[in-house]
Assembly symmetry: C2
Homo-oligomer: 241 residues x 2
DNA sequence: CTCGATTTTTGAATCTGGTTCAAAATTCGC
DNA sequence: GCGAATTTTGAACCAGATTCAAAAATCGAG
């Protein structure tokens, strides 16, 4: 029975339509002014139909964050396919993340909200499951790089699981995003480009892991060169920073 | 004219009362169910009076987060006064942070929400200024430790400002909190105690900074011993983890 | 101490925007 | 082509934040 399938596809399409409209409205009027009625209106559907797809506004927000995150997975995959020394590939993951933030400037703010107790807790369990699931490939890719590094003798786990080691760079990256995105925090200390700084700190951390080949993080030019190189070799079709 | 001053004090007292009630209600019913009317009721004041103090619910949330943060400053100060090698003192900052999370488990969730575009943006500029200001002493303390480390020859800045170097550990700590506090994320990867892991990664990072004396992060027992030691010497009156 | 002016408090009324659900429209199988 | 089942609709509902005119308290001069 093809009817069922067509229906399925229609529903998926409409969900996409709604999410797109929501994204647009956020870009236009800010997260603050996002209204369910507006989303429905923009798509020429009744609010009731919108609620057929998303159990609540919170549900929609989590769905939107999840949808955005798909694009990040794509970027990570590119790094995964990149033939390069394992340490470069790990830095590549960080560059991919930066790329993503640049490409989707609204994402982090949205994600920050979506993972808030209030929103996360009010979304449907199914939606939460999907959101968590959408992040899984990222973890797998990172683990893969770490495992390869161990295999090649570039890195020693020294009692950690790959995921546990990966938590370090991951936390540092997320933390930097958090700091950057709180309006006004960076203005007070006179800090240069925070993401350039992140790259340097990541190099320090990887050195601390004794991830070969070691790299001089104080050589700003070299750090920049490495970042550029990754941009060129992995993301040459996308505007590079 | 003492009248003005008394009034001033009364207002401050009442503000404290309101914040206390809010905190209590959050503990009781969760952030999700916090209602302005309930806060006022609990204090035997009219809602209008509550709005005399806080321009909006968002304003109150930021105020509450700011108020909580005061306690963190206290913990950091203790570390600042602790006579110990600079590297130990830097780790002490991280331990203080952990202590704080343990002491005020609700704080991070609240702060996460408060720094969200929606809440942060809707709070009054004055309130935001106060919030930012309340974090300043933390930065100063960290900078101080880093500067002392440089003076003593334990650490080389290599072109960074103290604040910039401090951003690394800071980001890693915040990032770890973020990851820990998203319900369900840690369950999927089988990760051990994430905060123990944080300590280890911080040791790695400080090693990467070449902060003397270097420390073997793979020696779990030594890491734990160091953490315990800090707890004992700095926070011996508070329950230690 | 008294009285009018000023400030503060009050809480019912208002307003906003998310959510529901009975009726209308559409689709489906026969 | 027809009645049953499904989907869509949007006006009504509702929760809860916010307002503001009236009431109460405080103040300060005479």
């Amino acid at each position: 029975m093809g009817t069922r399938e067509r229906r399925q596809r229609q529903v998926a399409e409409r969900e996409h339509l709604f999410l797109g409209a929501a994204r647009e409205l956020i870009r236009q009027d800010g997260l603050l002014n996002l209204q369910m009625a507006r989303i429905a209106e923009k798509c020429d559907y009744a609010v009731g139909t919108l609620y057929q797809h998303f159990g609540s506004k919170e549900d929609l927000l989590v769905a939107l964050a999840t949808d955005n995150a798909q694009h990040r997975v794509e970027l990570f995959r590119r790094v995964d396919e990149w033939k390069a020394p394992t340490r470069d590939r790990m830095m590549g993951i960080a560059v991919a993340d930066l790329m993503f933030v640049q490409l989707y400037p609204e994402h982090f703010r949205l994600a920050q909200l979506a993972f808030t107790e209030i929103v996360w807790g009010a979304a449907s369990p199914e939606r939460r499951r999907l959101a968590l699931e959408s992040g899984e490939p990222l973890g797998r890719i990172c683990d893969g790089i770490i495992e390869e590094a161990v295999r090649r003798g570039d890195l020693k786990l020294r009692g950690l699981k790959p995921t546990e080691l990966g938590l370090g760079p991951w936390a540092m990256t997320i933390g930097t995003h958090s700091i950057v995105h709180v309006e006004g925090i960076l203005e007070q200390g006179q800090i240069g480009d925070p993401y350039r700084l992140l790259m340097r700190h990541l190099h320090c951390l990887l050195n601390g892991f004794d991830w070969q080949p070691l790299f001089d993080p104080a050589d700003d030019a070299a750090v920049d060169r490495k970042t550029k190189q990754i941009c060129n070799e992995v993301f040459n079709d996308i505007a590079c920073n």
